[in-house]
Symmetry: C2
Subunit: 162 residues, 2 copies
DNA sequence: GTCCCTATACTCGGATAGCAAGTGTCCGAGTATAGGCGG
DNA sequence: CCGCCTATACTCGGACACTTGCTATCCGAGTATAGGGAC
């Protein structure tokens, strides 16, 4: 099991957009530059976030991305599902119904016990991601980051934001 | 994010071995036949289970697989990690340290706040998988499966077990 | 009848191809802007 | 001086190659068994 690298990029990008506030936009190129990742590929993930309604895209000369809602209303789950999709990680192929001991379909419980157990764990994962918002994460980061880093980032924002 | 199909096969195979009890073994071929899956590929996963100490392999003419411990002592997490590996799903590439606003390494908190948030969710997932044992799952399945299916499976066992 | 030996058939185990999904990139469509022109 | 229009430069968005890891398979090494022979 492996989460797409794009999830990390998306989360960091959203964090930056949260710091920027609702009055400014940042183009994909700048976000990529800030994180040192390929611009074209990050753009792909930002499009997914846009489609999912997590960020808003502004077209045109001074366009770019900004959060679609306040950070406190964006759950980490929203970001993760925007990139990874909302399909379940464990997919039940109903192998219990195959093989020589198979019986007629109506003899089986509606969902396989093994699948239920696995999905219970996934639900716990989702619940934890739903509990944490972007505001939480940004808050913690803001408390932990060093003053020098803050200054440097602020200077960069000054330079690129119009 | 997607779990390997082998996880499902491994779990079902372990459930069958649990029903079989510690006094019998079942070769990979039979397990594959019972579930209607490719034998050679299932064998690969059984090897992983064996390496992880979840099942024991008996070589020779009447060899096969059996559980290495009582079902109550086998956590679903053990089975899942045997197949999927114990690496984290979310991998922090430390992109916060890249880009134009990077500062010296000692300025950063030991682990990125975003990674910590993601790993918290993974911990919840693992905890839920660790809480449930093979005995739990088999117990539920035993209560849900229809009498006809039980009879059919028992007959098949009688036929193949020596 | 009992013990030992050998040949056998069966098992697991790791090394080897094929394919799908994630990774990375590009170019075209669309739009808000900036400047110039006319009134 | 003000308003409108047009050209522009910049943005996003979807369509196209490439690489990694999962899927699937095979064949060789090792071993407990079953049968036969000797005592």
């Amino acid at each position: 099991m492996r989460l797409s690298e794009g999830v990390e990029w998306a989360l960091h990008s959203c964090a930056v957009l949260a710091l920027l506030g609702p009055d400014h936009t940042l183009p994909a190129t700048r976000l990529a530059e800030f994180h040192g990742v390929p611009a074209a590929y990050l753009a792909k993930h930002l499009q997914q976030l846009s489609r999912a309604g997590v960020v808003e895209s502004m077209a045109g000369r001074r366009g770019g991305y900004r959060l679609a809602r306040p950070p406190a209303e964006i759950r980490l789950l929203d970001v993760v599902e925007a990139v990874e999709g909302s399909e379940r990680a464990f997919r039940c192929a109903e192998i219990r119904r195959r093989g020589p001991s198979a019986v007629s379909d109506d003899q089986y419980s509606p969902v396989c016990g093994i699948a239920r157990a696995m999905w219970r764990a996934e639900a716990a994962w989702r619940a934890e991601l739903a509990r944490q918002t972007l505001a939480d994460v940004v808050g913690v980061m803001g408390r932990e980051v060093s003053p020098e880093a803050v200054a440097k980032a602020a200077a960069w924002f000054q330079e690129v934001v119009r």
